[in-house]
Every structure is written in structure tokens, then in C-alpha cells.
């Protein structure tokens, strides 16, 4: 079967920065495919290259078998992270403009607009100016515009960022319905639970490379058992954390461990299922007079997949970036 999206050895440089470094993606039709990674990992650049908004420096892109920019745009719908609507047009007028730009047959325009308005529950607001819409309504109209020409592939960049939980859940439900109707959806998000809940397959991207790829459950099972995070102090010294880690790696249920510097040298352990693991860890550390500031146990998440591959969580990377940003701006 021909893939809906096939990306081979995609590269893109901005000046000296390699934003995308040889990414390969193969996305089967009718899937929701998630791109996950911290800000600046290369997700949006990858999407923009696929959508023909950015010219890649190397590699090849096929969308529904098409390689030429205009043909790709015709079979693809793109909903950008920031909602950009003409404030003085009504929702219906905006969709009519979209219909004209995509050359929809005149006789089908009214029906198609009615269908997407119904699908996204926008009928009530269709004849109001988009400038009066709430954030959630704007996003829904943006989605409607992306779907109007019935694209085979829908590309969504952070589709629910900044939306309230009800709207987010409604959009998730809508995306599932869309997948059921055969539309291929490529989405980026740094909401881990969003990718986990929606995506059939995930590519985790860091520094412009795919560092892990598979179904969410495959990726999480590769990480192994439960995750235990121990902090021996709010901001522990590296040496103390390493000593504590050495004590714990001797425990029979501990599979692996690492120290996360970005979280105040917290100790992250991957363990085999064991109901007494927490108490055994506490006993082991107290035997050696090591105090515990906090201890938490969880099932592995996609963040743990990222952590096991890079030594940092997605949030750590974003916090580190946020700390660097003001310095850059001052220069």
C-alpha cells in the first residue's frame, strides 16, 4: 500500500543550525501519527517541509504519492499552531474563500461548507464575524477550513495548545472520527497525554533527529517496568546522587538508573514490577543514612522514552531553553 506520507533523509539548515537532520518517516493511510519532542526539536520545520511551506535542503517528500508542491497542497490540509483568521469575515465567508482557493466545484461548495460546519458544530456561529469567536471556536473554524477540500492528509501543528480541557477533548474526539473516515492525520504536540491518547504511531524527535519510533505502547514497553524518581534533596549534589544511585542499583528489581541533572540531580530508576519496591528503596537509603526529599512511582510514559534516549525529560529541555532565551535576546 502506498504510504500517505513518505519522507526520506529530510534535512533543513537555518544558517549554521541544523534544524532537521536526516529524518525518515513513513506514515500509512488512515493513521494518526504523532511527532513528539521539545520546542526547537525540529517538529514544526519537518511539518512545514511536508506542507511545502519550507524548502528543504535535502531529502525527498511524497504526500499521497505527489511530489510537486501545488499537487501536495491540493491533497493536504494544514492547520497551523497560531490561528490566523480574517476578523472581518464571517465563518461562512472564510470557508467560501477557502473553497475558491482550492477550486471546489461550484455546485458542491454549499454542501461541503454545511458538512464541515455540522461536523465541527459551528452552525450557530457560521454567520458571525470570526473576530467575535472564542479561542476554541477559532480553532474549530481553522480545522473546518483545513478539512473543507476533503484532504487525504491533515497536518496539525499543536492543535490544542492554549485550549480549555473541554475543547481539547472535543477536538480529540473529532480527530478520532476523522481517522475512522480514512483521513491520515499528522500532528505535533508537546502534550504527552495528547499523543499518547490519539496517535497510532509516534516519532520522538530531538535535535532534528528521530530518536525513537513506534506505537506508544511499543515505545513504553521498550523502556521497561515502572519508573521511580527519587530526590535526596531539593537540589542534590551530583556526587551524593551518584552514591545513592550506586546503593540502589544493587537492588534486585532495579533494571537501570540514571541521574537527571536538569531536575536537581534526581535519580530515575527503571524497575521490574514489584509491590514492595518503594519501601525497599527507602530502607536501603536509610541504612546508609541517605535522606529522601521525595519519591514517586509511575507507569512509563512517552516522556520516559525521551528520558531514556536523551537523559532529559521534554520539560527539562524546554526549561533549559527558556533559561537560555533571555540571554540571547539581550545580545
Amino acid at each position: 500500500m502506498q504510504p500517505a506520507i513518505h519522507v526520506k533523509n529530510l534535512t533543513k539548515k537555518y544558517g549554521e543550525t541544523l534544524a532537521v537532520d536526516g529524518i525518515d518517516l513513513t506514515i500509512a493511510p488512515g493513521q494518526i501519527y504523532g511527532l513528539l519532542g521539545p520546542n526547537g526539536a525540529g517538529k514544526t520545520t519537518t511539518l512545514r517541509c511536508i506542507c511545502t511551506l519550507t524548502q528543504p535542503d535535502g531529502g525527498s517528500i511524497q504526500v499521497s504519492g505527489e511530489t510537486e508542491a501545488r499537487a501536495i497542497r491540493q491533497c493536504l490540509g494544514y492547520v497551523a499552531q497560531e490561528v490566523a483568521l480574517d476578523k472581518v469575515l464571517t465563518g461562512r465567508e472564510l470557508l467560501q474563500l477557502q473553497a475558491a482557493l482550492y477550486h471546489l466545484p461550484r455546485q458542491s461548495i454549499v454542501d461541503r461548507i454545511a458538512a464541515v460546519l455540522e461536523l465541527l458544530q459551528l452552525n450557530e456561529y457560521a454567520d458571525k464575524l470570526t473576530g467575535t469567536y472564542s479561542g476554541g471556536l477559532k480553532k474549530r473554524l481553522d480545522l473546518a477550513a483545513g478539512l473543507l477540500h476533503q484532504p487525504e492528509v491533515l497536518v496539525l501543528d499543536e492543535p490544542t495548545v492554549g485550549l480549555d480541557i473541554q475543547t481539547r477533548l472535543a477536538i480529540w474526539e473529532f480527530l478520532r472520527k476523522l481517522r475512522a473516515s480514512g483521513v491520515t492525520i499528522l500532528l505535533t504536540s508537546h502534550y504527552l497525554e495528547e499523543i499518547d491518547a490519539l496517535a497510532d504511531r509516534v516519532a520522538i524527535i530531538d535535535k532534528g533527529k528521530v530518536i525513537a519510533e513506534g506505537t506508544p505502547s511499543e515505545l513504553k514497553s521498550k523502556v521497561g517496568g515502572d519508573r521511580i524518581t527519587i530526590r535526596i534533596a531539593e537540589f542534590a549534589e551530583r556526587q551524593s546522587a551518584e552514591q545513592a544511585l550506586n546503593l540502589l542499583t544493587g537492588l534486585p528489581f532495579v533494571r537501570s538508573g540514571l541521574i537527571n541533572a536538569a531536575q536537581g540531580n534526581a535519580i530515575n530508576l527503571t524497575i521490574s514490577p514489584d509491590p514492595d519496591a518503594s519501601s525497599a528503596i527507602q530502607s536501603k537509603l536509610s541504612e546508609s543514612d541517605v535522606s529522601i526529599f521525595s519519591l514517586s512511582q509511575s507507569r512509563p510514559s512517552l516522556d520516559d522514552v525521551f528520558l531514556s534516549a536523551t537523559g532529559q525529560t521534554i520539560q527539562d529541555v524546554e526549561i533549559a531553553q527558556a533559561e537560555v532565551m533571555p540571554t540571547k535576546k539581550r545580545r
Partner: protein
């Protein structure tokens, strides 16, 4: 046909926006009328010519020298800058819309506004017994060439110079008002000192004014050497404006897609 649908969609969008902003529509209507009446009355009083003669001379200057300048050039710059600021340009870029259609859509929208202003100016002038005495086709050609030139210049300035909406007023005032004065938009160039008269010969607005004046007031046609000179200059400026506007637009596409 594909370009036609896209062009009409873009033009309609700009015109709908203008109609929704009723205040702008009213101001764009008041502006050429007030300029015409003011210049006409001042000219009649200052040069002791008849009111009809003063309005006959003022009508082309008020139209191509002032009204179309602000609506077509200023409007094109505002449209492009506002699109960029609100990110709606990106929505257009991701669609199969061609650059030619976008350009033509803006041209047609501002062409409609310009033709509306033309009707207003000559309707008001008619109250002062002014008639368009020359070839209507030639007159319409000159007005369309002027609109095209302003839209082309608007693309150049809107894509390459004005980065935000606040730049538009400064740009139109700083770049435009001296050109308008030197082009005879507000008073006849006979009032200018000789060194400035020399500069005027290279001012496209002067040639637009003179070409329309020669046709509308003096019934000249393209066999007249003076009109040929102005007309050639106008055609050359039109071609240069469209070409530079198009190149600037292509350059902007490259820049915007990197953002």
C-alpha cells in the same frame, strides 16, 4: 480559469473588508471630493480663472495625484502588511493560490475602489460644469495604468520596506507627500521654482496628472507629442512598478516561508 476564480476570491475578500469597515469606505469617498473642492476653489481664487476651468484642471490631479495614490498605493501596502501581521498570508500560502492571482486580486480590488473614486470626482466636477471632453477609453487606460503603477509600488514598499502597520503612515507620508507636491497634485507645477521643475520631469505622478489632464480637459489623443511623452513615461513606470512589485513579492514569499 483557475487564476480567475482565485483572483475574484482575493478581490472580494478585500472589498468585503472595506465594506464592513464602513468608516474607511466613507473616508475614502469623502477624501477625493474634499480634495477636489478645496483645490478647485483655491485655484479659482488664487489664479483668477473661472470655477469651471479651475475644476477642469483640478479633477485629474485630485484623482490620480491624490485619491488613487492614497487608496491604491497606501491601501496595497496596508493590505500586505496587515496580512503578514495577522498571519493570514500563511493561510494563503498553504493553499494552491498562485502568486499571479494574489497580485491580480489586489489589483482588481483597488481598481474597483479607484474606479469608484473616479466616478465620484467626475460627478462632483460635473456640478461645476466640467465634462470629460477627450476619449473615455484613453482616459480609462490612463487611470488603470496609474492604479496598476500604484499597486505595483504598493507591493514593493509593502513587502520590502513596511514591516508593521505603524510603518504604513510614515512611509506614505515620507515617500508620498513630497512626490505628490512635486507632481502637481495639490497645486499646478507652475508655482514651483525652476530647480524643482526639473525634478518634476522625472516624477511619475506629474506624468499621470498631465496625461489625464491632456485627455480629459484638452481632448488630446495619442497623436499629440506632449501626451505621447507623458503616456510613454506612464507606461514605462507601470511596467517598472509591476516588475519590481512582482520581484519584491517573490522575495517576500521566500522570506515569509522561512519564518
Amino acid at each position: 480559469m483557475r487564476h480567475w476564480h482565485e483572483t475574484i476570491a482575493i478581490a472580494r475578500r478585500i472589498l468585503v473588508e472595506l465594506v464592513r469597515h464602513r468608516q474607511s469606505l466613507i473616508l475614502w469617498s469623502i477624501f477625493p471630493i474634499s480634495i477636489l473642492i478645496l483645490i478647485g476653489l483655491i485655484l479659482a481664487e488664487g489664479t483668477k480663472i473661472s470655477t469651471t476651468e479651475a475644476f477642469r484642471v483640478s479633477a485629474p490631479a485630485s484623482l490620480v495625484g491624490a485619491a488613487l495614490f492614497f487608496s491604491c498605493l497606501g491601501g496595497t501596502i496596508s493590505t500586505i502588511v496587515a496580512e503578514r501581521e495577522s498571519s493570514t498570508l500563511k493561510r494563503l500560502f498553504i493553499s494552491p493560490l498562485s502568486g499571479i492571482s494574489y497580485f491580480l486580486g489586489i489589483f482588481i480590488a483597488y481598481g474597483c475602489i479607484g474606479l469608484g473614486q473616479t466616478l465620484l470626482v467626475y460627478t462632483v466636477a460635473a456640478f461645476f460644469d466640467v465634462q470629460f471632453s477627450g476619449s473615455l477609453i484613453l482616459g480609462a487606460g490612463i487611470i488603470l495604468l496609474s492604479i496598476g503603477s500604484y499597486v505595483g509600488m504598493g507591493f514593493l514598499l509593502g513587502t520590502q520596506v513596511a514591516r508593521q502597520i505603524e510603518d504604513v503612515n510614515g512611509l506614505v507620508a515620507g515617500f508620498g507627500v513630497p512626490l505628490l507636491i512635486l507632481g502637481g497634485a495639490f497645486f499646478p507645477i507652475a508655482f514651483l521654482p525652476p530647480p524643482l521643475l526639473l525634478i518634476t520631469q522625472f516624477n511619475p505622478i506629474y506624468h499621470m496628472n498631465q496625461a489625464l489632464l491632456d485627455v480629459s480637459a484638452n481632448s488630446k489623443d495619442l497623436s499629440d507629442p506632449d501626451l505621447i511623452l507623458h503616456f510613454r513615461f506612464l507606461v514605462g513606470f507601470f511596467v517598472a512598478s509591476i516588475a519590481s512589485g512582482w520581484l519584491a513579492y517573490r522575495r517576500m514569499l521566500g522570506q515569509e516561508r522561512r519564518l
